[in-house]
């Protein structure tokens, strides 16, 4: 767990990340290589968090740090999904600088001095990506499987987050061996105790998903690097954000869930 400094710094009590009501223009592409800035709006101040680019290794560490368990205590069953520690660690690791807190040069560890609630709010925005809210079309028989994601992303110095809708990932059909690999890895759970008083710890599905993404991705739409559309399998494998890889690949393996026999 990240430690917080006892030294207080000037900050609004309850910040909210600045998320827009609107979304990106149709033709706008999500700029993967532009450093991200996230702005928090408090009652009196605007705070900006400037990040270096978040690498695949950062995301792997993030997903590995998420705790997913089921706990059975007699008749009470509880599911634990704890990602806050992982979010704080990710923010601390990738944060380059902040604006709006005044002079931080006297602090030994300025990152640890930042309010925990602020780091959590920023962490939520960093990983804000999910399968598109647009209803998925009934699966069509095709060589490639299309997954669409929606994501908030803020780039450049202004820190205003933009909603990018319908970010397209096209995959080759997974082989049975790949499906088996996914099932194998995600079923490798660790256990302790009994049914009455036991713990099951699940592996991070996102880590497996990131690897499978690289094996199956064919093309993407809606992303840019160096101002140009992201094309080419190797470029996509290298440049695509790890959180987007994980979400897209997990959605790939949940394909067909919406189909019902009439």
């Amino acid at each position: 767990m990240a430690k917080t400094s006892k030294q207080r710094i000037d900050a609004p009590a309850i910040p909210t990340a600045e998320l827009p009501a609107g979304s990106a223009p149709e033709a706008a592409m999500l700029p993967l290589d532009v450093p991200r800035t996230i702005t928090l709006k408090g009652a009196q101040k605007t705070l900006s968090y400037h990040f270096r680019r978040i690498t695949a290794a950062d995301w792997q560490a993030f997903f590995a740090a998420i705790v997913h368990q089921t706990l059975q205590r007699g008749p009470v069953r509880e599911t634990v999904y704890e990602s806050e520690t992982a979010q704080i660690e990710l923010v601390e690791k990738a944060l380059k600088s902040v604006d709006g807190y005044g002079d931080l040069s006297s602090l030994k560890n300025w990152k640890a001095a930042l309010p925990l609630t602020h780091r959590l709010s920023v962490g939520v925005v960093l990983r804000n990506v999910g399968e598109s809210s647009r209803p998925r079309e009934t699966a069509q028989l095709a060589d490639l499987i299309t997954i669409e994601l929606d994501a908030f992303w803020s780039a450049g110095d202004k820190g205003k987050a933009t909603l990018y809708s319908g970010l397209v990932h096209r995959f080759r059909q997974p082989s049975i061996a790949q499906l088996r690999h996914f099932n194998f890895e995600t079923a490798r759970v660790r256990v302790e105790g009994t049914a009455e008083n036991g713990i099951t710890t699940y592996p991070a599905r996102q880590l497996v998903a990131m690897r499978i993404y690289d094996e199956l991705i064919e093309e993407v739409d809606g992303y840019s690097v160096d101002g140009k559309p992201l094309v080419g399998i190797e470029n996509i494998q290298r440049e695509m954000d790890g959180a987007h890889k994980a979400e897209a690949a997990l959605a790939l393996f949940s394909q067909g869930d919406a189909v019902r026999v009439q």
Partner: protein
């Protein structure tokens, strides 16, 4: 913490309980369909056998059953831990099937001394 996939003793128990659950499901589902939503949890506990191990064992057994089904259609490269699990699963399925022979009419497992199938009501055991 232990790796459920490597604990064959625990997996054996989980497989037995998994088969027993499957056996109880058809009748339990019929009762549950007529049970009000607020009593569903209670009814489910009463109708289905209780599990004795943490969830993780059943997750791995479910994976083994999936692998077993796929292997009926296509060959698959397996890890040693899956092969060991499949051998155990096969033994436990044979044991379960001996104790619950399939109805010659509909294939539903029944108690070994049953004279009438609990699903199709066809005569068995003659």
């Amino acid at each position: 913490m232990r790796d459920a996939a490597r604990d064959l003793k625990g997996l054996r128990t989980a497989a037995q309980e998994f088969f027993e659950e499957g056996y109880a499901y058809p009748e339990a589902n019929r009762t549950l369909a007529a049970t009000p939503p607020e009593h569903q949890d209670e009814a489910r506990k009463a109708l289905l056998p209780q599990r004795t191990l943490p969830d993780g064992y059943y997750v791995w057994v479910a994976h083994l059953i999936w692998v077993e089904r796929v292997l009926e259609i296509v060959p698959l490269d397996l890890a040693a831990v899956e092969v060991e699990g499949l051998l155990m699963l096969k033994q436990e399925r044979s044991r379960f099937q001996s104790a619950h022979p399939a109805c010659p009419h509909c294939g539903m497992p029944n108690e070994v001394h049953a004279l009438v199938c609990r699903e199709c009501m066809g005569e068995i055991g003659k």
